[in-house]
């Protein structure tokens, strides 16, 4: 029998070399990192013949793996001011933390925690994401990040802003990791923004894990405002306790290629989660939203609403899988992905999936994909709106439905502003 050894791509070879060089100098014990890298290396970079990466061929896209970025000397500009206490994470390194944190909130840098030890570290890592290349590579290379803890029963009125800023004129990679432990009955709003330079093919790979205790309330909103040449991997792990309520909204505007993965586990009874997303894509942008929603306990409610606008030769991907375990009776899951294709070469790949092992559940999914409604356009134009303005109004309404699910006003404004400039740029072409 012939043994087939797949050829390593230059990126895979670089990753291996980088890991061999860095594994003993990165903070914390090397054992976990080695195990994670080994899990990644088993299959290497995922490509289109790997089912979960069918529409986003990372092996083909990542021509080479850029070197891991050093801690920048100066504080890069560009992070939006959301009027909230802000953690600045630059090129994967924590540069600053708020001078004072709201009562009941504590924060420690991941680097410190890994070096000196921290009780929350045992919560790092999501079994639902095991073997996922982006997650394993983040675990293998994670440089720094934040461990945030919200005490049980505390209502944090001020939102907390995690501002990820990237800077550099040559390609570089980042691997930041954030862990948020929300105590039982606590309530917190987390805002995540990501930006970086235009024209540089940098490669951020971030992971945020939110572990929410029983009865906790978490509102999470994220902005992908990365530079136009970036290849961006991001993973969000959500573990929900009993009667936890969580909302997470992701807005995608930036990056040449992005893949946002959400792993949500309903680990306690009667938890509720809304996981939503919007994306406005143009040129040759490629944006992938991949969700795995695992209902492990009964009575859970999950809602997913994704809206994608695709112009030019851009492509959108939505993959959503709802798993309902045998025990998870009375689960109510509803997943909806809609896309508007504006260009003749625009593409959208929708793949909703249900895996149901319980018998008493209500689950539904739907996917739509099409052009703007000609009749609606005519109606608006017949009232005097020029075509670009009529189109913009309809597009704004289409993605606006997702923006409305963001509870934080400052973040809603940032997203609305991004949508408006995207539409203006489109109308000006």
């Amino acid at each position: 029998m012939a043994i087939v050894t797949p050829m390593k791509t230059p990126a895979e070879t670089s990753l291996e070399g980088a890991f061999a060089r860095l594994r003993d100098t990165l903070p914390g014990a090397a054992a976990e990192r080695r195990a994670a890298f080994a899990r990644y290396a088993e299959r290497g970079l995922p490509h289109r013949r790997v089912e979960e990466w069918k529409y986003t061929d990372l092996r083909a896209a990542l021509r080479d793996a850029a070197p891991l970025a050093e801690r920048p000397a100066a504080v890069p500009a560009g992070a939006p001011d959301l009027g909230a206490p802000r953690f600045l994470i630059a090129n994967g390194h924590v540069l600053s933390a708020p001078a004072s944190l709201p009562a009941g909130v504590t924060a420690v840098s991941l680097r410190e925690a890994l070096t000196a030890g921290h009780p929350a570290l045992s919560a790092l890592g999501d079994p639902l994401a095991a073997g996922n290349a982006a997650v394993e590579l983040n675990t293998a290379f994670m440089t720094d990040g934040i461990i945030l803890t919200v005490e049980s029963g505390v209502t944090v009125t001020e939102p907390l802003h995690l501002a990820f800023v990237n800077e550099g004129s040559q390609p570089f990679a980042t691997a930041a990791r954030v862990l948020v432990m929300v105590g039982g009955g606590a309530s917190v709003t987390l805002l995540e923004t990501h930006q970086g330079p235009a024209g540089v093919a940098y490669q951020p790979n971030t992971m945020v894990e939110i572990v929410a205790g029983d009865g906790a309330r978490v509102d999470h909103a994220r902005l992908n405002g990365e530079g136009d040449a970036a290849i961006v991997l991001s993973s969000l792990s959500l573990r929900l306790g009993r009667e936890t309520e969580l909302t997470s909204v992701n807005g995608v505007f930036g990056a040449a290629l992005s893949r946002h993965q959400v792993f949500a586990t309903f680990a306690g009874e009667s938890a509720k989660a809304s996981i939503n997303g919007l994306a406005l894509l143009s040129r040759t942008q490629h944006a992938d939203s991949t969700l795995v929603v695992d209902h492990a306990e009964p009575g859970g409610e999950s809602r997913e609403l994704f809206r994608t606008v695709v112009d030019d030769e851009a492509a959108g991907v939505f993959q959503g899988k709802i798993i309902v375990r045998q025990k998870a009776q009375k689960t109510d899951g509803r997943m909806m992905s809609g896309a508007l294709l504006l260009g003749e070469a625009s593409a959208m790949y929708n793949k909703p999936e249900l895996e149901i092992f319980a018998d008493d559940v209500a689950c539904a999914h739907g996917a739509t994909c099409g052009a703007l409604d000609e009749d609606l356009l005519f109606y608006l134009m017949a009232r005097g709106l020029p075509k670009p303005e009529a189109e913009a109004l309809l597009l704004q309404a289409f993605v606006g439905e997702v923006v409305e699910t963001v509870s934080n006003e400052a973040m809603r404004e940032v997203l609305t502003g991004r949508i408006e400039s995207w539409l203006k740029a489109r109308a000006a072409r």
Partner: protein, 249 residues
Amino acid sequence: MIEIRNLVVEIEGQRILDGLNLTVKDGEVAAIMGPNGSGKSTLSYVVAGREDYEVLDGEVLLNGENILEMAPDERAAAGVFLAFQYPLEIPGVGTMTFLKAAMNAQRRHRGEPELATADFMKRVNNAAEGLGISKDMLKRALNVGFSGGEKKRMEILQMALLQPAFCILDETDSGLDIDALKIVADGVNALRSPDRSFLVITHYQRLLNHIVPDTVHVMAKGRIVKSGGKELALELEANGYADYRNLAA
């Protein structure tokens, strides 16, 4: 005002308008009546500029200028307004946002400055009050969840705000209750003026009791087959279209 000459229109290879001629003078209210499927809505869409139709021949002159090559928004700016037979629901687009966008778009087309918010609000509230349109309706997405009659009233509100020169009302009376019919008719009558013309498409004489037309035209098989004064509508109400179906053949 408007002069339609020998208009020939097809859709998917099927002839719908077959050499239609019609003139509506400045300040005139013309009514069109005709059997279902005779092409009345098609005519209104073609004048407003909907794209699906193939215009094979003819002209539509608005104050002497052929508008057939214009985009719908340009025609609107030139003064054409169509109150749709079936107004569309536009989810996610607030009624006020839409009204403001429409009014300002037309003003820009004409080189006029945009309306100040206070001025805009005043105009909308005044016009809405006259048409019995509630503040709550104005807060909702355009036409979404509106009743059939509410949608028709919203069309007339738009007409009142946009102050067009040539207004086509395509079965604006259908779906209206007796009181609403009166309100809408009053709204239209208030807009009648020597430099504004109307083309009122209807199946029922009842509307024409309220909006008294100067001329009545019978349309059959894509042509105007008979024209007359307001008494023609009464005659149709009594006798039906039997005499005219054959005329077009």
